[in-house]
């Protein structure tokens, strides 16, 4: 029992062999995901050929909601910050893109920038706006932060009505250009491009655009969450003292998480404007509409249904919450989304019932949401 030695010389190295320590994944295990992605991209590329336009529109709406929900699910599920403000960032993104990309005239302010520049500018500005919320998001947590962020939705509603020269009037709105890059216009209505003898018009091109953006948003988010950034966020979520001691700046990462989530919201906002064929129109009421408290809750519902923190889950959640109200009329053959011939069970009512029931079931039986179900299913198959 040595208790008086003050400066022990370092002992001889105890080498534990030279075997590679992280078991490198086999070639098959590394190639399989690549093949999976290649197949997915091919399917997405060919989808517009086989799927009719009205269904493409449903898929695009799901993807717009999915991108917004991906940002939110990273914020809530990974960084542990509750937010009810995502609809505000949809509005902000939509308005910013419109102002940057549309031409200005006597009634509206516009800069007429190329759409790609406007898109990137919108994502950056939305992120900065989220970061500007940091003094509040860093001081509040849980339900208090949720309520504070909910106020953003009301703020957005108020500002959009006060500043019609930016956001367009609530009665008629204003128009933003559709997306185009030199040599390819995504809003082309008189298409010369044929793919397997199917003309690729605006709906088909919009699907490609939305699918591309969603895949990029997913891959970027997934890469960050698997690596250093995600680890830092999860540490902040679970134990701030541990995070600090391990070298994570807790206020800094909280602000960044909010900024990233808002940037996703802003991108989704641009997609929403495109989906409405470029129409940017503020809501007529704060509790119902595209950028309303209803939407903000719907986005939260997507995250919970999909499984908090899961990016794939967010898209699956969006398929239910944003997809069902549009898909049900198509399935039943009725072409009305609001009124279904005298019955009280309109698609919206049915959707609300479905996702209400789903949330209750998920909280009770599978708190990890659809993502958790997916994991279970995969484990079943592997056995």
């Amino acid at each position: 029992m040595s208790d008086t030695e003050i400066a022990n010389p370092p002992a001889t190295p105890e080498t534990t062999g030279t075997t590679p320590v992280t078991a490198r994944r086999s070639t098959a295990a590394r190639v399989a995901p690549l093949i999976g992605w290649a197949v997915l991209l091919l399917v997405l590329f060919l989808t517009p050929v086989y799927v009719p336009g009205e269904w493409l529109s449903v898929l695009c709406w799901i993807m717009a909601g999915g991108v917004a929900a991906m940002g939110l699910t990273m914020l809530i599920g990974q960084a542990g910050q509750f937010s009810l403000g995502q609809a505000f960032f949809l509005l902000l993104g939509g308005v910013t893109y419109t102002v940057l990309a549309a031409d200005g005239d006597a009634e509206y302010i516009g800069f007429g920038l190329p759409p790609l520049v406007a898109l990137i500018g919108t994502i950056i500005i939305s992120g900065l706006a989220g970061a500007a919320f940091a003094p509040i998001s860093g001081r509040l947590r849980g339900i208090y932060l949720g309520v504070a962020s909910l106020s953003l939705v009301f703020l957005g509603y108020y500002l959009s009505h006060e500043l019609p020269m930016l956001a367009g009037s609530a009665s008629s709105g204003r128009y933003a250009p559709t997306f185009s890059v030199p040599g390819f216009d995504f809003g082309e209505t008189n298409p010369q491009l044929l793919l397997l003898n199917v003309p690729m018009g605006a709906a088909e091109r919009q699907f490609w655009l939305f699918a591309g953006l969603t895949v990029i948003a997913y891959l970027v988010g997934q890469g960050a969450m698997k690596g250093r950034v995600g680890r830092g966020w999860r540490a902040v979520r679970d134990n701030e003292a541990v995070a600090t001691v391990m070298g994570v700046s807790v206020p800094g990462e909280k602000a960044k998480a909010f900024a990233i989530s808002s940037a996703y919201g802003g991108l989704a906002g641009v997609m929403v404007v495109w989906w409405y064929s470029g129409l940017m129109k503020p809501d007529e009421a704060v509790e119902l509409g595209t950028y309303s408290t209803y939407t903000t809750i719907a986005l939260l519902a997507m995250c919970v249904i999909g499984g908090l923190g899961s990016l794939g889950g967010a898209i699956a959640g969006s398929a239910l919450v944003f997809g069902l109200p549009l898909a049900l009329p198509l399935l039943t053959g009725s072409n009305q989304t609001v009124d279904a011939s005298g019955t009280a069970f309109t698609p919206i009512v049915i959707t609300n019932l479905v996702f209400g029931i789903l949330i209750v079931l998920i909280v009770l039986f599978e708190p990890r949401g659809l993502a958790g179900l997916g994991t279970r299913l995969r484990n079943l198959i592997r056995r």
């Binding site: 029992m1 040595s2 208790d3 008086t4 030695e5 003050i6 400066a7 022990n8 010389p9 370092p10 002992a11 001889t12 190295p13 105890e14 080498t15 534990t16 590679p20 320590v21 992280t22 078991a23 891959l219 970027v220 988010g221 890469g223 960050a224 698997k226 690596g227 250093r228 950034v229 995600g230 680890r231 830092g232 999860r234 540490a235 679970d238 134990n239 003292a241 541990v242 995070a243 600090t244 001691v245 391990m246 070298g247 994570v248 700046s249 807790v250 800094g252 960044k256 990233i260």
Partner: protein, 280 residues
């Protein structure tokens, strides 16, 4: 685990006082953790040991006094930058992320040694991927040393208590510390597990050549491996010496026996001290 010759500096706590409103949790405490020694911080419950730990790691800001590592003043440094100075800390209450894998938990320790923000990782830039692999290899090596190599991809929450303790320790080691701070490493362990933990801490010091600062209630562990012991009581330092002297210190014995000898935890420790004394 490969030994590197780390530049281990003495950790000096100089007259540190921590206040919460009117309560003085740590009162003008000074001690020095000499390089490559195992230094124990003991004292009855509420003596200020954990507050002292938090003051060193920057979680609490001392009202006065300072903490220095070699020539670097840690007090006043933003707390998240202290890890980078070579301070690794394991926690008392298993602060692991239960749903994340062991490797992911341990990799958190590499946070301060790695770079790269959201977009760099999101776009999987080649240098971030290379960095990630290199650091995962080192983290896995440390896990291997801790006997966790078969658990790398298991969710941390699914591990036994003893294994989780080792994950926590592995995470602290991943900081590549020169001073390893352990908050009650043997809490909740039986006597044979405690003995193994004691041997492990001793080996760590010898193999890595680092200093260890530990808070522990188990007197057999403390008296067995500590090179020096600082005793706190009501936030004050009442003794600071080698174990053989501490065991005979009348003020230490009084602090442990206290005015309420029936209190379970304290009397057990006092008994442990006196039994160590008789055996010594």
């Amino acid at each position: 685990m490969s030994t590197d010759t780390r530049n281990v500096q003495p950790l000096r706590v100089e007259g540190v006082t921590v206040r919460f409103g009117g309560i003085v949790a740590v009162n003008d405490v000074s001690f020095t953790v000499q390089p490559r020694t195992i230094h124990a911080l003991i004292g009855p419950n509420g003596a200020g040991k954990s507050s002292c730990f938090n003051a060193i790691t920057g979680i609490y800001t001392p009202a006065s006094g300072q903490v220095r590592l070699g020539e670097t003043v840690l007090t006043g440094t933003p707390p998240h930058k202290i890890a980078r100075q070579g301070i690794g800390r394991a926690f008392q209450n298993l602060a692991l992320i239960g749903t994340s894998s062991v490797l992911d938990n341990v990799m958190l320790g590499r946070y301060s040694l790695t770079k790269g923000q959201f977009m760099a990782y999101g776009m999987r830039l080649p240098w971030t991927m290379r960095q990630e692999r290199a650091h995962q290899d080192r983290a896995a090596e440390i896990c291997d040393y801790m006997g966790l190599s078969h658990r790398l991809h298991t969710p941390a929450g699914a591990l036994s208590y003893g294994e989780q303790k080792r994950v926590d320790l592995a995470r602290a080691l991943c900081v590549e510390p020169t001073v390893l701070m352990l908050d009650e490493p043997a809490a909740g362990m039986n006597s044979s597990e405690t003995a193994m933990m004691a041997a492990l801490i001793h080996d760590l010091r010898d193999d890595l050549g680092i200093s260890v600062l530990l808070v522990e209630h188990d007197m057999s562990l403390v008296m067995g491996i500590a090179d020096r012991i600082t005793v706190l009581d009501f936030g004050r330092r009442i003794a600071d010496d080698v174990p053989a002297v501490i065991q005979r210190d009348p003020e230490v014995i009084k602090a442990y026996l206290g005015g309420a000898p029936d209190e379970s935890g304290e009397s057990a420790e006092a008994a442990a001290i006196s039994s160590e004394e008789t055996s010594a």
